[in-house]
């Protein structure tokens, strides 16, 4: 009898947790227009759908995007500073059954393997819900071309140096 009580209490606790945890559903998909083999400098877009599957309206919804590098030996969370100017959606309300569709643009700054995930929470619920992760690889691309830089970086100082030399020569010639 005692065991039955504990079992019943445990089941109720589990059910209530499941009920509250299931109030938001997140889907995350890569945009069909994304490049098949993304390289540094490309843009990628991720489309998320956040659905209030519970019975209560959700107030003060906050959703944000996170990026994690999973390149072997370089595993780390990424600072999205230069990757994306659109990092979060804040203060949104969702009625029961309503959905919020968001597109997350991202500029690929560094090469490597990455996983992107959308997380969300709201004003009243302490739970953080996360979407499934999407993994992608960013190929390396040397963006600074030495064939363009070398003539400018060496040519301009040489030109000014030549002008300076001519000035000095004229000055000495005049003095003499």
């Amino acid at each position: 009898m005692k065991h039955l009580k504990y079992l019943l209490a445990g089941s109720l606790l589990l059910l209530s947790t499941l009920a509250s945890a299931a109030s938001l559903q997140l889907q995350l998909k890569s945009d069909p227009a994304n490049p098949g083999h993304p390289t540094m400098g490309d843009w990628m877009h991720f489309n998320s759908v956040i659905t209030n599957s519970g019975q209560q309206p959700i107030e003060g919804l906050v959703a944000w995007i996170s990026l994690v590098q999973v390149t072997p030996g370089k595993e780390q969370p990424m600072d999205l500073e230069d990757w994306s100017a659109h990092k979060a959606v804040t203060g949104t309300a969702l009625a029961p059954g309503a959905s919020l569709q968001t597109q997350w643009p991202m500029r690929l700054i560094q090469s490597g393997d990455y996983r992107v995930v959308i997380s969300t929470t709201d004003r009243n619920n302490k739970t953080v819900f996360t979407s499934p992760t999407l993994q992608f690889h960013v190929a390396q691309k040397p963006v600074v071309e030495s064939t363009r830089i070398l003539p400018v970086a060496l040519g301009i100082p040489l030109l000014i140096g030549g002008l300076l030399g001519t000035q000095r020569f004229r000055h000495r010639h005049r003095s003499a």
Binding site: M40, G41, D79, E81, D82, A85, R107, I109, Q110, S111, Q140, K141, P142, V143, V144, E145, S146, R148, I149, L150, P151, V152, A153, L154, I156, P157, I160, G161, L163, L164, Q167, R168, H171
Partner: protein, 251 residues
């Protein structure tokens, strides 16, 4: 040609035809070349995103331009005094306002030359990438008030102190402090003090705009607050220079 135009022409030609001016220009080009060569000699830097590289080059152009402006500004009055040419200038039939205006226009023309000189560098590091046109436009719009503001500040100190060394050192300390956001990334400036300094520092204003428009492709309207900040900086520094130049130290 009126007196201020005459002085402005003399100041501008001093940069292109005078050995000292050409040496300053060579130093300016040397800074930009060193940075460009660093980009291709370092593997990590050579892999940076185009927009990031253009942003860094725009920041370097602004800093190097402000450095030369500070040197020229410090030389404007105190240099004339040390060469013994300030008293003849002050006794010539030209008002102190015209003298300042001539030197101010001369400094603006010098920045114009430096700006034109920076264009090949921007093209070299940013061609084929995004927002090169925006970088050139915003460097002119935001870089000009920042650079000239520092030049006028140095001019004011030069007129007040009468010593090139003193005005140069003071201006350089202020410039180094203001340009610190070049070294400290936006993430590290995200504290209350960092944000407060960013809100009043014209150099930060220009850098944050470069970041926003070159890397994040933000629209012009979102940069209006920072534009007001850099224009205020220019206006205040020109006003300070005018006040100091009314009675320059000539003894």
């Amino acid at each position: 040609m009126n007196a201020s135009s005459l002085i402005a022409t003399k100041e501008r030609s001093a940069l292109l035809q005078n050995q000292r001016g050409l040496a300053w220009l060579l130093a300016y080009a040397g800074i930009l070349s060193a940075f460009a060569l660093l980009l291709i000699s370092n593997r990590e830097l050579s892999l940076l995103d185009n927009a990031q590289v253009v942003y860094m080059m725009a920041g370097t152009v602004t800093a190097a331009g402000a450095l030369i402006a500070v040197i020229m500004g410090s030389d404007a009055y105190a240099g004339e005094r040390e060469r013994g040419t300030l008293v003849p200038l002050l006794t010539a039939p030209i008002s102190t306002g015209d003298l300042l205006m001539g030197k101010a226009i001369g400094l603006a023309s010098a920045w114009g030359i430096m700006y034109l000189l920076s264009l090949p560098y921007l093209w070299a590091v940013g061609a084929g990438g995004q927002n090169l046109g925006q970088a050139i436009f915003y460097l002119g719009l935001f870089g000009t008030p920042v650079v000239l503001g520092f030049g006028y500040l140095a001019m004011a100190l030069s007129a007040r102190s009468g010593s090139v060394m003193s005005s140069l050192l003071t201006s350089l300390i202020i410039l180094l402090f203001s340009a610190s956001p070049l070294l400290i990334g936006p993430g590290l400036r995200n504290s209350a003090i960092g944000k407060a300094l960013d809100a009043v520092n014209p150099f930060s204003g220009a850098l944050n705009t470069y970041d926003a428009v070159i890397i994040d492709s933000d629209p012009f309207l979102s940069q209006l607050g920072r534009l007001v900040l850099v224009l205020l900086w220019l206006g205040i520094m020109f006003g300070v220079a005018r006040l100091s130049a009314r009675r320059p130290a000539f003894r």
